[in-house]
Structure formats: C-alpha cells, structure tokens
C-alpha cells in the first residue's frame, strides 16, 4: 500500500505565447493552458506504483481559482482524488511560495508515503518546488529520478538518479519525495471513459482561508523581455534546384567549405 501525492502545475502552453517584435512584450491574450509536460510523468508514475502496490493517488495543484479545468485533465490520468489549492492571487507564484503553500496543505490534511514532482515546470523550469517542499516537510528527497522501485521491506523507496556525473542509485525511508525525469515512463492518453470518470472524482477545494496564512515572495519581478531572433525565414521546396540554391547560400555565407 502506498499513498502517493503527485504534484502538478497548470501552465500556459508556451507554444501559444506570441511576441511583439517591437516592444518585445509577451502577448498572452489567447494562450491555452495545459498540465506542465513533465508533471504528466509524475502523475503517471504515481498511478503505476499504485497499480502495482495498492494504495491511492492524490493529484495536488496550487493555482488561481479559475484553473478548475486542470482537475478533470489530471484526474482523467488516474488519480482517485485531487487537492485544488486555490486563490485568485495564486498566479505567477514563485517556487518558494508554491512549496510553502503545498507544505501547509499537505501537513494539514494528507497522510502520504511518497510525493512525486516533475523535474521542472514547463514555464519556470526552476526545479525548485520539489526539493523545497521536501525541506519544508522535513522528508528525504531525490531529484532527477528515472526509475523508482519499492524496496522489499515496503518501507523504503529505491530511486535511480540520472546526473551530470553518472547514475546514482539511492534508497530512502518513506515518506520521501522524488522529482522524476520524462524518460521514467510514457504517460497514458486518457480514454473517453477515463475523461468521463474524472468528472465524478472528488476534489478537495482548499482556499487561502483554509491555509490560514499568507505567502509573500522573496523574489520580485522587475521586468520581462521576450527573446527575439533575427532570422531570414526562407522556406523552400524539396527539389534539387532548391537544394542547390541553399547550398549556394551557405557557401556564400562562408559557413561551409
């Protein structure tokens, strides 16, 4: 039996973000949202472990109250229940705030053996919430995990970490926290029945009021500037003539010889 919390973030689909070339402002008016890419791996891993060992999976997210849509999406991927920790002010949170909010909520209401986070969120990619949350909960943690196994004793989790200097296998007593890499699994694509089932799963609505404290960021944003790139953007067809034109251009640029 494993009680697992999978943490996921509802993020802007960065492919929808357009840039105003002149002012270098981000045009965010018509962006779509999605579950942060690698958090799908986190949810998937939680569900797989649960399927293997029994127990249950809670999907937990911190976000603005309008992000409701994410719950159905997350729950259609397998968890039994969701914690929706929301407040209108929970937009553009700093990772340290998110970790603190998650920690308060989890301490107050969850019993868990394992917490799984993604390697990093698609928007901030701070790789911070997971380890910071572990610290606040005072539990051991391992980042960059690409394989998870429950030890024979069922009291420890064995995590294989992929790091700059090689592989490292660690064992940790439960409860513990891991952050997972995208190659740990291939997330399932929810089926119609799973999508319909998700609508009936319970969601615990946790508000700022329930948390009973406020969360101030330590980092203040002073500016955002879109990255722009001057490129020629010439598009050609695939025939020999075009290939010769491009080779000619590359020779002239002096980048091939």
């Amino acid at each position: 039996m494993l009680n697992i919390i999978a943490c996921f973030k509802w993020v802007v689909d960065e492919a929808d973000v357009k840039i105003d070339a002149k002012s270098r402002a981000l045009l965010m008016e018509r962006v779509g949202y999605k579950i942060s890419d690698y958090d799908r791996n986190a949810i998937e891993e939680a569900v797989r472990l649960q399927e293997q060992h029994g127990g249950n999976v809670v999907a937990a997210t911190v976000g603005p109250s309008t992000a409701k849509q994410c719950l159905k999406d997350a729950l259609s991927r397998g968890p039994e229940r969701a914690d929706f920790i929301n407040d209108p002010s929970f937009v553009d949170l700093e990772p340290e705030q998110t970790a603190a909010i998650l920690a308060t909520a989890i301490k107050a209401k969850e019993e868990y053996d394992l917490i799984i986070c993604g390697e990093g969120s698609s928007d901030l990619y701070a790789q911070q919430v997971g380890p910071a949350l572990a610290e606040r909960l005072g539990i051991p943690c391992a980042t960059c995990v690409n394989k998870l196994t429950l030890a024979e004793s069922k009291k420890e989790i064995i995590a294989e970490r992929k790091l700059d200097d090689g592989m490292e296998v660690v064992s940790m007593p439960l409860p513990a926290l891991v952050t997972v890499l995208p190659d740990i699994n291939t997330p399932r694509i929810p089926t119609l029945k799973q999508v319909l089932g998700a609508a009936k799963k319970p969601v615990d609505n946790i508000t700022l009021n329930d948390l009973g404290q406020t969360y101030k960021p330590c980092l203040q944003t002073t500016g955002i500037l879109a990255a722009t790139m001057e490129r020629r953007r010439l598009k050609f067809g695939a025939d020999e003539k075009n290939i010769l034109v491009i080779i000619g251009a590359l020779l002239k640029e002096g980048v091939i010889a």
């Binding site: 973000v17 981000l26 610290e135 051991p140 330590c218 067809g237 695939a238 290939i243 640029e253 980048v255």
Partner: protein, 318 residues
C-alpha cells in the same frame, strides 16, 4: 562573515563562480567565501581569488553530495552572506533549492546573468521563462540573494600571485537518510558539441536508430558533429545526453545548425539561438523550426538528406 558565497560541485565551475564573485566583492565591498571539498582545492580557490574557504567535512561512502545541505545551510544561517551563488549542475540545483528553503530566502534558478544595483546592493538577476521564450529579471528581497548559475556562464577566474586566505573546517555532517547504494560514473564524451562549427541535429522525425547514419554521413561531408533534441537522447536513448541541445541541454553557437526532423519547439531553440545560420528540414510546413530558421526545406528528410549529401559531395569535392 557576510560576503559573496560560492558553492559548486566541481573545480571548473567553482573557478567560474569565483570570477563573478571577485567582481561582486568589489561592488559589495565584501569578501569572497568558497566551499571546498578538500584542502588541495581550498588552496587553489584561494589562489584564484577566494578570501576564505569553508572546508566541507568528508562524506561517508554511502552519502551523496546533497547530504551537505544541513551543513551549508547552518553555516549560512550563522554567517548571513550577502550573495550565495551555486553552480548549476543537477546536484547543485537540488542543494540550492533546499538551502534556500532552509534559509527562507529567494532563489533565482538558472540565472543567466545579472546587473548590480550598487546603491541598494541588489542583484538584478535574469532567468529564462517559458522554455526560453523570454527573460525575466528578478531581485531577491531577502538575505542571502541566491542564484543557481549554469556552467560556462562566466570564464574561470585567473590564478593570482601571492594570495593568502583563511581555511575554516566545517563540522561533520549528520548522515542523510538518503543512502547511496550504487554509482555508475559516466564515460566522458570525447566530443564537445559546444566547440563544433557545424552541427547536424536529429529530432524525433527520424524514424529509427539506424537512420542516424544519414545524419552522420551529412555531418561527415560537412566536417561537423551530430547532436539532437532532448527526446532523442532522453527517451529514445539514441545519442548520449551530452549531445542534446536546449534549455536543459547544451547551449551551442556553431556557424551552421541543420535540424533534421526537429520540430523546433522553444525549449530546443533556446539552446541553438546563437547559431550563425539555422537550416531546418521538416515535412510539416507549419513546424515552428521554420520561424527560427534562416533556411528551411519543407520535405521528407529521407528524400532531402540523400540529395543534399549528393550535391554537397559534388560541390565540396568530397
């Protein structure tokens, strides 16, 4: 003790951070304090500009570098540094996040550069967001101002003559509950993609591993190296991780980047942004790579690349 503090898991990165630290020390009129794993390194860091070195205790066999977190956080709590830079390896990132949480301070993850507000002694730190689509500037209003600095952001600090510094030994660490039960060091790649003048990059548009030969042949004709997108390395495991480019991979600046079946999503483009010329081959005319490329061919790579190789062989007389 205050000062500009530095921790990185290896020598190269520590020296890079020392270079930044020395400059900051002047701005902040503070000393540079560096963590070192052994006495030998401690001496070297002093010779490269550190004023003080905090010597970390030896770790047990089954302990990973991350078990230094309580020691590092504790000494930082006592000494109250102004700035704390941590080298952006994977372990470094975990350590930074956990130390920042313990100190209740802000951390700029993936800090690609900064300016100094001299008057308020604040760092205006840059970090990439949205996969690299934008750069956000943040200031940390608590102490210490912390940042994770990716490798090769700065040059290494030069050796300075006749420097003296204090070495302080830190107390032994409480063994961490995280026990290492196996280690497999990575075989170092002989190729450094960041040095390549021409990079042929393979994306998921390549159907099978054997077809890498196409990319290798193209790279061979051009005298370049083969790189890839993150899923090709991480999910398909066709190429080593050192070969993928992007926000979480290598940042390259070749003269010519050729993408074969690379969709060109922002996380990948962020790593190749500084290429002189970008040339993409993709069969989807709406693929984002064409927005980021100088030259693009809309077509099947299995048709285009052989033709390209053939013509190049003729024209380059190879």
């Amino acid at each position: 003790m205050a000062g500009i503090w530095i921790f990185a898991e290896n020598r190269e990165q520590t020296l890079e951070l020392l270079n930044a630290g020395r400059n900051l020390a002047q701005d902040f009129k503070a000393k540079v304090v560096t963590f070192a794993l052994n006495v030998h390194l401690a001496e070297e860091y002093i010779n490269h500009g550190s004023d003080e070195v905090l010597l970390l205790p030896l770790l047990g066999q089954d302990q990973s570098l991350e078990s230094y977190v309580p020691v590092i956080a504790e000494v930082a709590r006592q000494e109250d540094p102004d700035v704390f830079f941590i080298g952006g390896t994977q372990r470094g990132r975990e350590i930074a996040a956990r130390v920042a949480a313990r100190l209740n301070t802000g951390l700029c993850g993936g800090c690609t550069g900064y300016k100094v507000d001299q008057k308020n002694k604040l760092l205006l730190m840059n970090r990439m967001i949205l996969g690299g689509a934008a750069v956000q500037t943040v200031v940390c209003t608590t102490r210490p101002q912390m940042a994770v600095i990716p490798p090769r952001t700065f040059e290494q600090a030069p050796l300075m003559e006749g420097r003296q510094g204090k070495v302080i030994e830190l107390p032994a660490a409480q063994p961490s509950a995280v026990k290492v039960i196996n280690r497999t060091p990575k075989v170092q790649e002989s190729v450094d993609l960041t040095e390549a003048k021409i990079i042929v990059s393979v994306g998921r548009g390549m159907e099978k591993k054997e077809d890498l030969s196409l990319a290798l042949e193209l790279a061979g004709v051009l005298g370049g190296e083969v790189g890839c997108s993150r899923p090709v390395a991480e999910e398909l495991h066709w190429l080593p991780e050192e070969r993928y480019m992007g926000i979480s991979g290598k940042k390259v600046k070749p003269d010519l980047y050729i993408g074969l079946g690379v969709s060109g999503q922002i996380q990948h483009i962020t790593g190749i942004r500084d290429s002189k010329i970008i040339f993409g081959i993709n069969r989807d005319e709406n693929a984002p790579i064409f927005e980021a490329a100088d030259y693009g061919i809309v077509g099947d790579l299995y048709e285009v690349v052989p033709k390209l190789i053939k013509e190049l062989k003729v024209l380059l007389k190879k």
